[in-house]
Symmetry: C2
Subunit: 218 residues, 2 copies
């Protein structure tokens, strides 16, 4: 079970999971994010990287608000900020992992893959290794499969990598990053703003990896 | 932040939280459940028991399937079963608590209330005290508020009570159980089937508490 956003990191994770021999089911969320172009990208990535199945689950996090990514009243910043930025979506990875866990349990899948990253992680609390370990423990208490003695594992293969490392790993595995969209403010055709945190981290990653940046900028 | 299903247990929890002096925000989920009458009940209960605000969040757990409550291909059983029953919805409380946590963080609320019960709990793994404790730990790792040193608490005031105890507690607090719907197969006007596990536990609870059962049966 691979959490797939359509961005650079999760595309790499899908390639890593496939490389480890897993038949991958990919899950994406239509959660009221500004960057709907990411969802289109997730469909292309799932197809190109050979996911067995891809599901887009709708949930209305926009009604909760509280983030620049889901609330039109909060602007996406175009300069780096101190601390946890306004693009933080409260409890997002917990919600995403929980639904993925539910689908995994239905399918009989026991391995969840998520593209969190603690190096270039923008300060999001739910991208840290201790958070991932805590979710794995919870998964094994929360489920029928866990109670019956099976074991869920949550894999975060990018957690210790820099963006440059991630790009290089994906290159080795043949990921076509032109299919991916990372920008928080991408336009409807998926062209990136080039100014938000996500664009900045991505561009610096390609530069540091010595890989040409295939991103289409507006 | 009170998770409110519209059933007997969560109505009691809302009354308990109000009695402890909290200004209560209630959250319900339209998750593709068979028993849509529960949602109507949640609106009545939120109003009658004085919630400050009530939000119904839509999410499409039906697309995941795997439960008699969300998948029309699986019948709701009318006789008690051994082990964890087919009405178990994979990872449901984890999904529900995660979204509630997100809204709580946005509001500045730090206390979450949930009506899980480990006595008459039908064998659901995500209704046990150890599960609730694990979610509380996760909440404090997952969130900006947690990282910044605030502390979320997850309250499960019914966890050790029998259904009869719950009914008596609610009676003391003035809960009108005629407003609530527990049945897994309630009809559109909220009348209960009288045969499913939820109906059986509820009816036995009123009988054991010596309280007249106000449920409207079909």
């Amino acid at each position: 079970m691979v959490l797939l956003s359509g961005g650079l990191d999760s595309a790499t994770v899908l390639a890593v999971a496939r490389d480890r021999g897993y038949a991958c089911h990919a899950i994406s969320y239509d959660y009221g994010q500004r960057h709907g172009a990411e969802l289109e990208a997730s469909r292309r990535v799932a197809t190109e990287l050979g996911a067995v199945e891809h599901k887009v689950v709708r949930l209305d996090l926009g009604s909760i608000g509280g983030s620049a990514l889901t609330d039109d009243a909060i602007d996406v910043p175009e300069t780096p900020s101190e601390g946890i930025p306004v693009t933080y979506v409260p409890a997002r990875n917990t919600v995403f992992l929980a639904i993925a866990l539910g689908w995994a349990e239905v399918l009989g899948a026991r391995d969840l893959f998520i593209g969190v990253n603690a190096v270039d992680y923008s300060g999001y609390p739910d991208c840290r290794p201790e958070y991932i370990a805590a979710f794995e423990s919870l998964a094994n208490l929360a489920t029928k499969a866990g109670v019956e003695g099976e074991r869920f594992r949550v894999h975060a293969p990018l957690v210790d990598l820099s963006k440059a490392d991630i790009v290089q790993r994906g290159q080795q595995l043949g990921v076509d990053y032109a299919l991916t969209v990372s920008c928080y403010s991408a336009d409807d055709s998926g062209r990136a703003c080039g100014r938000c945190d996500a664009c900045r981290l991505r561009r610096e990653g390609f530069a540091a990896a010595g890989v040409p940046d295939p991103t289409r900028y507006a």
